[in-house]
């Protein structure tokens, strides 16, 4: 049996297959990301009993309900605080926060910023679909300037978050961005990040044909995928300007930061406990 066949067979054990087909719309990219994540977990040979998937609220928040490992569907925006708590109580677990852009950067924006600053040992998989999909397509913190949504019918005046640049500026040791078109690169990136320590951020640009695409001349799932295919370029040393996502513009993807050896918060905290015990 080849490796790919084996991965596909074991993937069914990591999914709660009785809940499938899932709630996501036809052509939604979250399924592709979940598929890549599960394959990366199996390739890393991580024990399913040592893996925790934490997610917030939203379309991507439903991912925690489909994985057959310990998972946590938390309150809106609080995926990272719950994950930090899990990591503190059980430092031996691999904690993954699997959530969407609205949950991680709007409602939970402050948690993201401060957890990244302290370098907690978490893997953040941020699925960015440019909008609030579940509530009907309102504009969110990652909607590109000029995009049409239900709450910005004449074009969005806001500037979107530049997520890789935000994470790099806060000192995250691993920062990457891919689109759902790059299935293999995405899987390898998650595989690499699972073997590292520290606050690792992977942003995945995903398609939302149902509420974002239909208002921005990409009505079908395939036309959104075609947009990613034609407009994404791989550039690992991209500058701030290049990392910005412009409406219908280029999407720069790649691995923007990959450094090792930065002590995590958990390590520094253990160090403090040891020092305090020696003094007393």
């Amino acid at each position: 049996m080849s490796l790919m066949e084996e991965l596909r067979m074991n993937e069914e054990n990591l999914l709660r297959t009785e809940r499938l087909p899932h709630v996501w719309c036809p052509g939604c990219g979250i399924g592709i990301v979940l598929n890549a994540f599960l394959r990366a977990v199996m390739r890393r040979k991580i024990d399913p009993n040592k893996l925790v998937v934490v997610s917030g609220i939203g379309c991507t928040g439903r991912a925690a309900g489909y994985v057959n490992v310990d998972s946590f569907h938390t309150t809106h925006g609080r995926g990272i605080p719950f994950a930090v708590g899990i990591k503190f109580a059980r430092p031996d677990l691999n904690v993954v926060v699997f959530s969407g852009d609205g949950d991680l950067f709007a409602i939970g924006g402050n948690h993201f910023v401060n957890a990244a600053r302290r370098n907690h040992d978490l893997l953040i998989i941020a699925v960015n679909n440019f909008t609030y999909g579940m509530t009907g397509g309102q504009h969110g913190p990652t909607t590109p300037t000029g995009a049409y949504t239900t709450t910005t019918p004449y074009g969005n005046p806001d500037r979107p978050f530049n997520i890789p640049h935000l994470a790099i500026s806060l000192g995250a040791p691993y920062v990457a961005r891919w689109t759902t078109y790059h299935v293999n690169q995405l899987q390898n990136s998650i595989y690499k990040a699972l073997g590292m320590k520290g606050f690792r951020v992977i942003e995945i640009i995903s398609q939302c044909p149902t509420v974002y695409g239909r208002r921005n001349t990409m009505r079908t799932p395939l036309s959104m995928m075609e947009y990613f295919q034609k407009n994404s370029i791989i550039k690992n040393d991209a500058s701030f300007e290049e990392l910005e996502i412009k409406y219908k513009g280029r999407i720069v993807v790649g691995e923007f930061r990959n450094v090792q050896g930065i002590p995590t918060y958990e390590e520094r905290y253990e160090d403090i406990i040891r020092r305090a015990q020696n003094e007393s």
Binding site: M1, S2, R8, P21, G27, G31, I32, N35, A36, L222
Partner: protein
């Protein structure tokens, strides 16, 4: 059409039709176009893809349809 005379038949693609939602990424991104949109409907009312090989279109077991499927509905079974 791609010239596939050098390729040998390497796998069959099994479709779990009840999970399919008809996004047709698999049909579009199959490099040798062995998947086509079928006429039949599944329980949810979508047209699932159908595995159809002929002389020009042969499955090369690249597993790309599996990776692109957002609904976990494709299993590629390699032939021994």
């Amino acid at each position: 059409m791609t010239e596939n005379k050098n390729f040998k038949r390497k796998a069959t693609v099994k479709i779990l039709e009840d999970r399919c939602k008809g996004c047709w990424y698999c049909v579009n991104y199959c490099p040798t176009k062995v998947l086509v949109v079928s006429e039949k409907l599944n329980a949810k009312g979508y047209h699932p893809p159908e595995f159809r090989e002929d002389e020009e279109h042969v499955c090369i077991a690249c597993h790309l349809c599996e990776l692109y499927c957002p609904d976990f509905a494709i299993v590629v079974e390699e032939l021994k």
